[in-house]
Symmetry: C2
């Protein structure tokens, strides 16, 4: 078996990539998309092509295309300049994980708004109103603080 200078093997990185894909799947990504994203993380080169991903992962070109589209849309990957290559190259974006976390904020906002609408619909001084007020307070707090937390990370890293 081929070993590089660090004593790691291709199988080691493949296993680690699949482990990451599993976590991403549990986080809501579909399986192919998760595997593609993990492959981006573990790629030897700075950028990869759709064809390379399809071959390495053993999935159809259609699945890879869909995954790349999705990952581009949410801002996790981007086209990479690839002079003199016929194929399109892609790579992970700077700060991709912070972007992913930020996208959770849309969820937080949706929860806040759902609570707010609920309060309008429920009568005052009802058990439902009390629950909805606590919910709105909590998500309002998170909606204010979560972006600030992520910004602090960016500042810490860059500064």
């Amino acid at each position: 078996m081929h070993r590089n200078e660090e004593g790691t093997t291709l199988a080691d990185t493949t296993e680690a990539a699949e482990r990451l894909a599993l976590v991403l799947t549990q986080g809501g990504l579909q399986k192919s998309t998760a595997r593609v994203l993990a492959a981006f993380m573990f790629a030897d080169a700075d950028s990869v092509t759709a064809g390379e991903l399809a071959e390495r992962l053993g999935i159809s070109s259609g699945s890879v295309s869909g995954a790349i589209k999705m990952l581009s849309t949410v801002g996790l990957i981007e086209r990479a300049p690839a002079p003199g290559s016929r194929r399109e190259h892609y790579r992970m974006r700077e700060g991709a994980w912070a972007t992913l976390m930020s996208s959770q904020n849309g969820m937080v906002q949706a929860m806040f708004e759902a609570a707010d609408r609920g309060i309008e619909a429920a009568g005052e001084d009802t058990p439902a109103a009390r629950r909805l007020h606590e919910m709105r307070d909590f998500y309002g707090y998170m909606f204010r603080e979560l972006p600030a937390l992520i910004d602090r990370w960016r500042a810490e890293r860059d500064g």
Copy 2:
């Protein structure tokens, strides 16, 4: 149509509940579970029974049972004392939404660990290693700061 003092209707609250259920579904809950949780939020009484939920939502008793089990496991609802009743009563727990957010932390930890394992598997000074280090740094930061953020909310509310 019946209107209460606030001028709201049953249809209003039902619609608001379904809207909340939709958001919860997008957040990863299965449909029945999301509708049951929303029904808990909008319930008129302090606690409800499985039978009431099944009837109100028009779903099978089996689905309700599964939803209650799941929601109990993650700590969003709890058994409520119901003296003199043959049926089991349930209600939302205090701070349920903070609990839900905290459970996201398990995800953060899993991402951190996946990055860590990846670093072991990847060679040093490779593109993959650089990406994995950034990933580990980010999730390490989140793993430290997110629980603190939630604790601050609890302190603010209680204090």
